[in-house]
């Protein structure tokens, strides 16, 4: 057990720190969160800078265009970029953290050549077409159908909660290719070009009042069979690979962000007098510091276990469960610090704790609800019996 940087890790950290110190000062101000095209431009421009500097796909293998960094170095990357206040993956989220790793792991050589460079350089943006109106956390209930016709699949159905759909070039799409097969079988993982005829994107207004997601309608859309990643009807397994990446490390950088937010909140509480006046609140902040600290250690542990290039295990659900709840509590505590200020949205510069609090309501729902994570922990980690199988 050790937590210190090896000489190679220390050199990587130093190099990254130096580079961030040089590029961040002349970064343009972040765009209006409501302006999706501006967000795409901002996020992909940052990705391009990472790419040019040799920091794109840090932990992806070299043979697929990554930097071949160890999982520990990837954590250093997340820690340092977050600590320096660098932009987060943003619009590149699905490409870098879902579709890219999935294609790298399951795609053919041709598929890797076609799609991975665009993801790494920020040239192309991806969205996720997994959920449907009748299939959220119960993803195996999806109904969007793909019928083989020559060299194409003809796809019809609809998808929901499709983040970045408005500005995406590609969609990682789950479709049912064998309606007669049991639910978890008969699913395939396709790459859908968003400009294909028959694709309609309709923005979905969230409780924030913003169009964060979209609905996706697919009306006899032709998708080449060559765009299928993995075998036909094997999409469920491919998807589990994607989701384990998501639960395993996709949120790791955000733990650092939460720790930084907690320090900012302590500063705010000191400035507005709450720190001295409300010992209960002060202690709640202390407890939350302990929780984020421990979650970072848990990430380091999980990553150490995965070192050697494995797929994150189902223990990642423990992390996802704890982190999304702690993160919501952070914003509830922010509201307690702000008092009546929590009832108004910020109208200018600075942190918008209230907007974050609203946004945070999705954390225990997105990427598998907390209840589903508990089922996974109970059944797959602890080995408790499946319900209804007496």
């Amino acid at each position: 057990m050790d937590l210190q940087d090896t000489p190679a890790e220390a050199a990587f950290r130093r190099g990254l720190r130096d580079w961030l110190g040089k590029v961040l000062p002349d970064l343009p101000p972040p765009p209006d969160p409501l302006d999706w095209p501006a967000r795409r431009a901002y996020d992909t421009a940052w990705q391009r800078r990472l790419y040019d500097a040799g920091y794109a796909g840090v932990h992806w293998p070299r043979e697929v265009g990554g930097q071949g960094a160890t999982p520990a170095e990837y954590l250093i990357f997340l820690e340092e970029t977050e600590r320096a206040g660098a932009p987060y993956v943003g619009a590149n989220f699905v490409g870098l953290l879902h579709a890219g790793p999935t294609i790298a792991a399951e795609g053919t050589a041709e598929q890797r050549r076609r799609w991975l460079p665009g993801i790494l350089s920020g040239a192309e943006v991806w969205c996720q077409g997994f959920s449907e109106p009748g299939a959220g956390s119960d993803l195996a209930a999806l109904r969007t159908r793909a019928v083989r016709d020559g060299d194409d699949y003809v796809v019809s159905g609809s998808k929901l909660w499709t983040s970045h759909a408005e500005v995406a070039d590609w969609c990682e799409l789950l479709v049912r290719t064998d309606p007669a097969a049991p639910r978890h079988r008969g699913i395939s993982w396709l790459v859908l070009p968003m400009d294909a005829p028959g694709v309609t994107v309709r923005p979905l207004r969230t409780l924030m009042g913003t169009a964060e997601f979209a609905e996706l309608f697919l009306d006899e859309v032709r998708v080449p069979v060559a765009n299928r990643v993995g075998a036909e009807n094997d999409g469920w397994r491919v998807t589990m690979v994607t989701l384990s990446f998501e639960r395993g490390t996709a949120f790791a950088g955000e733990v650092v962000a939460c720790r930084r937010a907690l320090v900012e909140l302590a500063g705010l509480a000191r400035r507005n007098g709450v720190w001295e006046a409300d010992p209960g609140l002060r202690r709640s902040l202390g407890l939350l510091a302990a929780r984020f600290g421990a979650l970072w250690r848990l990430v380091q542990w999980n990553v150490s276990e995965a070192q050697g290039g494995g797929v994150p295990g189902p223990g990642a659900s423990v992390f996802k469960l704890c982190f999304s709840e702690a993160r919501q509590e952070l914003y509830d505590l922010a509201a307690a610090v702000l008092g009546s200020g929590a009832l108004v949205l910020a109208d200018g510069e600075g942190d918008d704790w209230t907007a974050q609090r609203l946004q945070g309501l999705s954390y225990t729902i997105a990427a598998g609800t907390s209840q589903i994570q508990r089922n996974i922990v109970a059944q797959r980690v602890l080995g408790l019996p499946k319900p209804g199988r007496a």
Binding site: T6, L285, A290, L298, V377, A378, G383
Partner: protein, 333 residues
């Protein structure tokens, strides 16, 4: 960075687990309860021989294995899981820092600032020495237990008999070179490791019982309500375990007492919660059986309470963490 256990650490952990499984199973636990005569310390010589108390001593000293806090917390997770009664932590600290001979036992209490409620020491008549730690001045004194006025109290945990110290404490022999604050922090961390062991046992006990006990035509572990209780138990235990181990690793890498105090405060808080809430949830999974003397579940909860009340408590830890946040916020501005 590689936070995985090394092969030697795994061997230490498994060796101790094997010893404890063979020597302190459910029957021995029961026997230890019924003969809880005050002079009897279950397993004491085996634990001393296995190096539990001396593994952090330099190799040239009696029983010394020259290992670090990282190995000590792994070992204490195991004895915590086995519910081996104490005074384990104070004895380890006295063996490592105050040259307590092997096979002897020590107690430790903080004479200032006094906590809330009576000053309690476990198994006072059995102890060879009692360390008094003044965490304000940093001074540590050693007192002969025979010179301390105390009365026996019925402790909540049948395996942790308690004595309440009365009147002014006698002044003891100063132990120069010892830092009471360091002892207190290390004691808190080792206690947190014991709690991680208790919490792990609570999860395992609940899962086994939930897989066996049938109601409404299926094992209760198939019900989502029970599954979610168990999942939450694990979700509290794993971050606590990571925090305890990380604090120990940082200490071995040379963290100052102040840095270690912050890391330990978080670890102890989370480990206390994992153990206390985990034991309660385990009791709940056992239903009516959990409320009986015959089920061992109540022993988990009572021990978790004892450890929760030992060394740094929740108020102390949260205040320390808050102070640290506040200092970081000032540095941030």
């Amino acid at each position: 960075m590689d936070f995985r256990l090394t092969d030697d650490q795994i061997a230490l952990q498994l060796g101790l687990r094997e010893l404890l499984t063979g020597r302190f199973g459910p029957e021995q636990l029961r026997t230890a309860m019924t003969d809880s005569d005050k002079d009897r310390l279950p397993l004491w010589s085996e634990l001393a021989d296995a190096g539990l108390f001396s593994l952090r001593k330099p190799e040239q000293q009696e029983g010394g294995l020259g290992l670090g806090l990282a190995e000590a917390v792994l070992a204490f997770e195991e004895v915590g899981r086995a519910l081996v009664p104490g005074p384990l932590v104070a004895t380890e600290l006295a063996t490592v820092h105050a040259s307590l001979p092997l096979h002897q036992a020590a107690g430790l209490c903080r004479n200032r600032p006094a906590g809330r409620g009576p000053l309690l020491v476990e198994r006072l008549p059995t102890l060879d020495t009692l360390l008094l730690a003044d965490t304000v001045t940093g001074e540590v004194q050693s007192v002969s237990p025979a010179r301390v006025r105390a009365r026996s109290r019925r402790g909540v945990d049948p395996l942790t008999p308690l004595w309440e110290l009365e009147g002014p404490l006698p002044s003891g022999d100063p132990l120069p070179g010892l830092d009471a604050r360091r002892l207190w922090v290390e004691g808190s961390l080792l206690t947190a490791a014991l709690q991680v062991g208790v919490a792990s046992r609570a999860v395992a006990t609940a899962v086994v019982y939930a897989g066996q006990r049938e109601q409404f035509g299926q094992p209760i572990g198939a019900f989502q309500a029970v599954q979610h209780l168990c999942a939450d138990m694990l979700a509290r235990t794993e971050p606590a375990r990571a925090a305890v181990r990380a604090a120990a690793v940082c200490a071995d890498a040379g963290a100052s007492t102040a840095e270690l105090a912050v890391a330990t405060a978080g670890a102890k808080l989370l480990a206390d919660q994992a153990a206390v809430r985990g034991a309660r949830d385990c009791l709940q999974v056992h239903g009516g059986m959990g409320f009986t003397w015959e089920a061992d579940v109540h022993l988990l909860l009572k021990r978790a309470w004892v450890y929760e009340g030992s060394f740094a408590g929740a108020a102390e830890s949260t205040e320390l963490l808050a102070e640290d946040l506040s200092a970081a916020a000032v540095g941030h501005l």
